[in-house]
């Protein structure tokens, strides 16, 4: 165990922590028994400080990354929670199996996606990772080893998925795999004239396995919402299935450049270039490999680094269908008023049922990335008010800045989650900077 300086991916939270990365179960248990408060850490790729807290022990599980059981016939796999998505894909894809709920970076661990109830691009069809989880094994300093499933410790099972690691260290996960036939993807691009136009087109495909998501411009009022809809379809025309290897030697995503290179000029320049490239230079239909579609940030880590030391803010909000019109009007009004510097604006379908603090609902998911500055914070503050007044769902795991008062208003089961966690673990051993913010 040693001291280590660490920060969240969005650079909102810096801390000196106690860190240990055991490679044996006995060592892991010993560390857990000897510490008053514990965070469990996967790859520490979260935008928010979900796996650490100031002066507190974080137990990294990168050495617990093995396959425990694989039942190809029944499409079930049991893995240790430290296994990264790239490692899991490298094993299951040659068997033409996978999990569709893949967040966009391959070093993210299975433990991480369970603790955050992660989703992928096809969340309107496949839902969140919740749907794939059959069993979980956790270790809790007081309760010991616990098996969780629909049939065993169901209450803790529910608290653990999307529970930010507060029920104990997630050690093993059994997942239901899905078929993945074909070798790569065919991507089609459709131009869109505004946010409303994007929504009209995207809503038509809210129950499709094809991935629909948009990239929309934010560089000025005239262009706001213009952009493209990307449709990634599995390519079944290829008869030859080649083994799909995922490169796991990925750049360090969490480092940063000395200065922030993003401002209104660079945003305009890059968005204009991107728009021209896809409108005039890129074919409207082309083949893309697995990595490009599923892990779009591989090789583009510079995007995160280029925000400099101050980092960035990402806001992700699910808006129910009936409130879309109002939300879009409000966003456009606020955009005119504050002229925020938005580096990324994207829209996709979402499907799920809101429970506890899980980022789930039926509707449309809006994603915005901002430069971390005063004006943008004022704009995002107004977004928070829209969320509170309209009972929208802002993502806790993406937005470090999100206030507890907003969370309480937007997540009606906040108190239930808090009470259940306190009832289960009266000493509140498993904590993080996020749980401190949540006062849990």
């Amino acid at each position: 165990m040693y001291k280590k300086k660490i920060h969240s991916l969005d650079k909102s939270y810096f801390a000196e922590i106690l860190f240990s990365s055991p490679d044996k179960y006995k060592k892991f248990e010993k560390l857990s028994y000897e510490s008053d408060n514990i965070s469990t850490m996967g790859s520490c790729n979260s935008y928010v400080p979900a796996s650490f807290n100031k002066n507190q022990l974080s137990i990294e599980l990168k050495n617990f990354n093995r396959i425990i059981e694989f039942d190809k016939k029944n499409k079930l796999i049991t893995v240790e929670s430290g296994i990264q998505l790239s490692e899991l894909c490298s094993f299951v894809l040659p068997h033409n199996l996978w999990i569709p709920q893949m967040p966009g970076y391959p070093t993210i661990t299975i433990g991480g996606i369970v603790a955050t109830n992660a989703h992928g691009k096809s969340c309107s069809f496949h839902g969140t990772i919740y749907k794939q989880i059959k069993k979980i094994k956790i270790f809790h300093k007081i309760h010991g080893w616990l098996n969780l499933s629909e049939n065993e410790n169901k209450e803790i099972f529910e608290l653990t998925i999307g529970g930010f690691g507060l029920t104990g260290s997630i050690i093993e996960v059994q997942l239901k795999l899905e078929d993945f036939l074909g070798n790569n993807f065919v991507t089609e691009i459709e131009e869109t004239k505004s946010t409303k136009d994007t929504l009209n087109k995207i809503k038509q495909h809210n129950n499709s396995e094809i991935y629909y998501y948009s990239w929309n411009r934010t560089d000025n009022l005239k262009n706001f919402g213009k952009g493209f809809i990307f449709k990634n379809k599995k390519n079944f025309s290829k008869s030859l299935i080649v083994p799909k290897k995922i490169n796991s030697s990925i750049n360090n995503i969490s480092s940063n450049l000395i200065l922030n290179i993003w401002n209104d000029h660079t945003i305009k320049l890059t968005q204009t270039f991107y728009y021209i490239f896809f409108k005039y230079l890129k074919s409207k239909k082309y083949e893309e490999d697995f990595n490009n579609v599923i892990f779009p940030f591989i090789g583009k880590e510079i995007y995160f680094k280029s925000f400099g030391k101050k980092g960035f803010i990402e806001t992700q909000i699910i808006v129910p269908y009936k409130k879309l019109e109002l939300f879009v009007e409000e966003i456009e009004f606020l955009y005119k008023r504050y002229k925020p510097s938005i580096t990324l604006y994207s829209i996709k379908n979402f499907k799920g049922s809101k429970r506890f603090l899980r980022f789930e609902d039926d509707g449309i998911c809006f994603t915005f990335d901002f430069i971390n500055n005063y004006n943008n914070l004022k704009f995002i503050g107004q977004l928070d008010k829209i969320c509170e007044n309209n009972f929208l769902t802002p993502s806790i795991i993406k937005d470090s800045r999100l206030k507890l008062s907003t969370i309480k208003k937007c997540y009606h089961e906040y108190e239930a989650f808090k009470n259940d966690i306190f009832q289960y673990d009266k000493k509140r051993i498993y904590k993080s900077a996020i749980s401190d913010k949540l006062q849990i």
């Binding site: 165990m1 040693y2 990365s21 055991p22 490679d23 044996k24 179960y25 006995k26 060592k27 050495n63 093995r66 396959i67 425990i68 059981e69 694989f70 240790e80 094993f91």
Partner: protein, 247 residues
């Protein structure tokens, strides 16, 4: 063909086990941590489709090792080669260690290893083939005030392996000894070191590649050979004063 890895549940031993798997060679894994061994076995079997056998055995307890060998002589006959990527360290390993601490350290790092070899070498001689691979430490090159039991036992192991090489010059048994500098394992994770750490993965690859070589004593990372020679050339009177200066 079965290759026995002692201390296989973590660090270098674990990497060597995967490397055997990648080369489609069956392995027998031995460690005191059976839970880790079980998971490692399933992972290697699923990924590389080889036979993996596991045995729980604590090398820090010489009596346990003796007992295991006496009850499993048939087991020894099945082994074609043996590797000892085992290294036990304890906190506050100083000249004031208790008898129990010294006994555990010497058993794990030296006595149990040489006892095991003394039993298996007869079998290899009859088969007229086999390999034995040991792993020492650069810390064994000079007396020190920390990790004293560890460095003493590794020093003894190094002399033993030199003896083993000399004794087998005319046999077809391959004896190999790797003297290791800093490795990027859990043991060194918290230490701020002046020199870079070697990759256990690269070492494991090298070990498997070298298995056919005879009479090998080498360093990893390679450049530690220069430091080791320098330590040997400098008289103890001088090195003692250098240590005093930096303290």
């Amino acid at each position: 063909m079965s290759n026995l890895i002692i201390g296989a549940s973590s660090g270098l031993g674990r990497e060597i086990a995967y490397e055997f798997g990648k080369n489609s060679k069956n392995v027998i894994l031995m460690s005191r941590d059976v839970k880790d061994l079980k998971v490692l076995r399933s992972d290697i079997q699923f990924k590389h489709n080889i036979n993996v056998e596991i045995h729980e055995l604590d090398f820090s307890k010489l009596d346990e090792v003796k007992n295991f060998i006496s009850k499993n002589l048939d087991f020894l006959n099945r082994i074609d080669g043996i590797l000892f990527p085992i290294g036990m360290m304890i906190e506050n390993d100083t000249i004031k260690n208790t008898e129990e601490e010294f006994t555990s350290l010497f058993s794990a790092n030296f006595y149990s290893v040489i006892f095991f070899i003394s039993k298996i070498i007869d079998i290899f001689e009859i088969k007229n083939k086999g390999f034995i691979v040991g792993f020492g430490s650069i810390s064994a090159s000079l007396g020190r005030d920390s990790n004293i039991g560890y460095s003493c036992s590794k020093s003894a192991l190094e002399r033993y392996f030199e003896g083993l090489i000399v004794s087998n010059l005319k046999t077809k048994i391959n004896i190999q000894f790797y003297k290791l500098g800093y490795l990027n394992t859990n043991l060194s994770a918290s230490k701020k070191l002046l020199l870079p750490k070697g990759s256990p993965k690269k070492l494991a690859k090298k070990v498997i590649k070298n298995l056919d070589k005879k009479d090998l004593k080498t360093y990893f990372p390679k450049w530690w050979v220069l430091i080791d020679y320098a330590i040997k050339i400098i008289p103890f009177v001088l090195s003692k004063n250098i240590i005093k200066y930096f303290k």
